[in-house]
């Protein structure tokens, strides 16, 4: 197996995630797209770990998974708070900080 096939798959997932973050306006869907991006990064880490025959790649992927869990927890809490204050999670309406 080539190393590149994994890297290309990860690059594709990453770009799909970037598209989702930019084009979605529902807060929960944006968080899902962020998960796509994080998973793409994890594939890269594990693939390079297998390439160099070291477990370091896996260890870093595990750390990223832990951080992702924390990120989703806090992110959904924030989305929930936005919903409670504005009765909507449309992120285009959350423009309080726009000049």
């Amino acid at each position: 197996m080539y190393l590149n096939q994994f890297l290309f798959l990860a690059a594709f997932l990453f770009c799909v995630g970037v598209y989702g973050v930019l084009a979605r306006k529902n807060g929960v869907l944006v968080l899902m797209s962020v998960e796509l991006i994080l998973n793409a990064v994890n594939i890269n880490l594990v693939a390079f770990g297998a390439f160099h025959e070291t477990v370091a790649g896996q260890v870093f992927a595990l750390f990223v998974i832990a951080i992702a869990a924390a990120e989703v927890g806090v992110g959904l809490a924030i989305v929930l708070l936005i919903y409670r204050n504005r009765q909507s999670i449309d992120l285009t309406e959350a423009d309080l900080m726009k000049g």
């Binding site: 190393l3 594709f12 770009c15 995630g17 084009a23 529902n26 899902m32 770990g49 297998a50 929930l80």
Partner: protein, 164 residues
Amino acid sequence: MIAQNLIFGAIAGAMGLAALRVVTTKNIVHAALYLVVVLAGVAAIYILLAAEFTAAVQILVYVGAILVLFLFGIMLTRAPIGRTAELDNDQRGVALVVALFLLGVLGAVLQDAFGSTKLPEDAAVQRSAEVGTSIFQTYVIPFEVVSVLLLAALVGAVVIARRD
């Protein structure tokens, strides 16, 4: 070798289609369910790369916990269940251009850097014991920092989301 490549192709194809559906579907619950396909596919890719412990953790944490969290988020924000046209904002064109440009740049760079690099043939399975040893010897300080960070994030989530 050929079997591995065939399996990789099947998994990658399914993941790619599911990922596209996550960002394009008009039904928010379907997006969460397509995300299951992508996350399980990532676990299968880890198996192909002989990273069994990471694959198990991926299933447990992502499919088991994070996805349930997403479904709770959908439920608690009373998102429209069923088809709606209002999940995308008006920058889809720009977003598509940015994503395709990024894909082109990444693809060119990867092809240039690792065009013919092969993974080591029949790499030994990196056993869970080695991963555990590595975490608790080389990376023990980051591990402790991550556990404190998880605690802080969970307390923070409770404080942010509770009614008072």
